[in-house]
């Protein structure tokens, strides 16, 4: 089975993961990790810690998606209209 060859040859931590097609999905764990640390440092009271972490994760992810859309609009639509 040729499709299994890359998986069988992959050594965790020594070889990179083949995420060239789905690299943007790493935004979620990145945002979650940042939120875990930031909220642990920032919050005075840790009672509602995980709720704050999930909210911040969503805020980061949505913010980056909004920036991506804005950049796409600027580069694909607005700039060609201004300077064809």
């Amino acid at each position: 089975m040729p499709t299994l060859t890359p998986i069988l040859a992959w050594t965790p931590f020594l070889d990179p993961i083949d995420i060239h097609r789905v690299w943007y999905l790493t935004l979620i764990p990145l945002a979650f990790g940042i939120a875990v640390v930031y909220k642990a440092v920032r919050l005075h009271d840790l009672n509602h810690y995980w709720r704050h972490v999930l909210i911040m994760t969503a805020q980061i992810a949505l913010g980056i998606i909004a920036l991506a859309i804005a950049t796409w609009l600027l580069v694909i639509l607005i700039l060609p209209a201004i300077a064809p």
Binding site: F13, T26, G33, I34, V37, V41, D45
Partner: protein
């Protein structure tokens, strides 16, 4: 509700040093193990995720010196990973006889040569791995400052 860590005031050198040595240890040492555990899990989790995504090649003081500066803020873990990378994976060894260090263009060696024990990380996996590990290091700088100056946290 104030946590034990908030009761400290001024400058806590020991907590700062502990946080620099091991993420989260500073807060645990200052009497807030719950906070320290979450910080440690977050920082080391990001660092480990970066290594998993981009491979050990993401931490490379020799070839990516500028990126190693934020990565080094993790503490001894980053230096240990780099030491292993430089001395056990890059150098020609009996178990790694085919590896030749790149002469002038160190980044153009994607193919694992015969006997080479790891794959050079390129493209998106390399970018994302470096991003994860560098952000983990920069977050740990915030953690060290917070551990050393605990009075900066304010109740809402």
């Amino acid at each position: 509700m104030s946590t034990p860590h908030d009761l400290h005031t001024g400058f806590d050198l020991l907590a700062g040093l502990a946080a620099a040595a091991l993420p989260g240890a500073g807060h645990a040492l200052a009497g807030d193990p719950k906070r320290g555990l979450r910080i440690g899990a977050g920082v080391l989790g990001l660092f480990t995720a970066g290594l998993l995504i981009g491979g050990i090649d993401c931490v490379d003081r020799a070839e990516d010196g500028w990126w190693f500066i934020p990565q080094a803020m993790i503490g001894p873990a980053a230096f240990a990973v780099d030491h292993y990378h430089q001395n056990f994976l890059k150098k020609p060894r009996p178990t790694n006889p085919g590896f030749q260090p790149p002469p002038n263009s160190p980044r153009i060696t994607p193919a694992p040569g015969p006997g080479q024990t790891y794959t050079k990380s390129l493209g998106k996996p390399n970018d994302i791995g470096i991003l994860f590990t560098s952000i983990a290091g920069m977050l740990n700088l915030i953690v060290v400052i917070d551990a050393a100056f605990p009075t900066r946290r304010r109740p809402r």
